[in-house]
């Protein structure tokens, strides 16, 4: 079927918009793989992760970076984290499974989420309008991650630094989520 090729389309068509010095940008081409810890297998997984990535399974709320900086692990549940890395090829699960083997259960989540980066001076005040979590550095320092709800949507929020946040929300409702974030920035600018 030479004439039938499947082309990927990003959830938000590669959105980018500047609001003065504040930018809202879709982050594309990311792989996201959930890693679940088999019952009784925490130590095995930890040691596999240590061997492969030089870091251990992150506690909920925290993130861990592989020693080469290519994979960020987001601690989301007591027995589940997400691995976030550049998407290459069509099988992100394989990329993790090849390294960690059967020490974990893996599920592809790359297409489940739309990702936005909100960065700049208005980021925190814009998030104040939708995010119930306190983002003061003492409460939510760089590298923190949390799952919460904003404007009736489940959202994963990751702090890159005091002025820059990655926001992930479900792909199907990504336009609604984008509208919510856009409105927030507009309302405070």
């Amino acid at each position: 079927m030479p004439d039938l090729t499947l082309t990927a389309s990003p959830p938000l068509d590669g959105y980018h918009k500047q609001f003065g010095d504040t930018a809202l940008t879709e982050i594309g081409d990311q792989a996201l793989v959930s890693i679940a810890v088999p019952l009784g297998g925490a130590d095995a997984l930890d040691s596999a992760m240590t061997g492969a990535y030089g870091t251990t399974f992150p506690a909920p709320g925290s993130t861990a970076l592989s020693k080469d900086g290519s994979v960020r692990f987001l601690g989301l549940q007591p027995d589940q984290c997400f691995a976030l890395f550049e998407l290459a090829g069509n099988d992100p699960v394989e990329a993790i499974a090849n390294v960690l083997g059967d020490t974990g259960y893996y599920t592809d989540q790359s297409d489940s989420w739309a990702m936005l980066r909100l960065s700049g001076p208005l980021a925190v005040s814009a998030l104040e309008r939708i995010c119930p979590l306190g983002l003061a550095p003492a409460a939510f320092p760089q590298g923190s991650v949390a799952r919460t709800a904003m404007e009736h949507l489940g959202v994963i929020i990751l702090c890159e630094n005091e002025d820059s946040y990655v926001l992930m929300s479900a792909r199907s409702s990504a336009p609604s989520f984008l509208h919510a974030v856009e409105t927030s920035v507009e309302n405070v600018s």
Binding site: P78, R147, A149
Partner: protein
């Protein structure tokens, strides 16, 4: 309300979904001779105390943990929050 999640710290109760009395963990033995009565009581009857109660909340917009929250139904004061899984294991539930 704010629920002080044992792993995540204080979170607005709006992130959680309420189920009911923590006795719902104690699902009866289906093979018992009194299973019909046991399941009826398990499913339908409640202490409904005016005072301290233990109840199940699910952190739906969060880490997906089921929690057992000890809360006073007169004052709403929360005195203890545990992972329901730990409570279930401690109560001897297994598989």
């Amino acid at each position: 309300m704010i629920i002080n999640h044992p792993l995540l710290g204080p979170r607005d109760a709006a992130e959680f979904v309420y189920l009911g009395d923590a006795s719902l963990i104690d699902r009866p033995d289906w093979q018992s001779d009194t299973a019909a009565d046991d399941f009826y009581e398990y499913q339908y009857l409640r202490d409904n105390p005016a005072g301290e109660t233990r109840e199940l909340w699910f952190h739906e917009q969060g880490d997906r943990s089921w929690l057992v929250v000890t809360r006073n139904t007169l004052t709403h004061e929360i005195t203890k929050v545990e992972l329901a899984r730990d409570v279930a294991l401690a109560a001897g539930r297994d598989r």
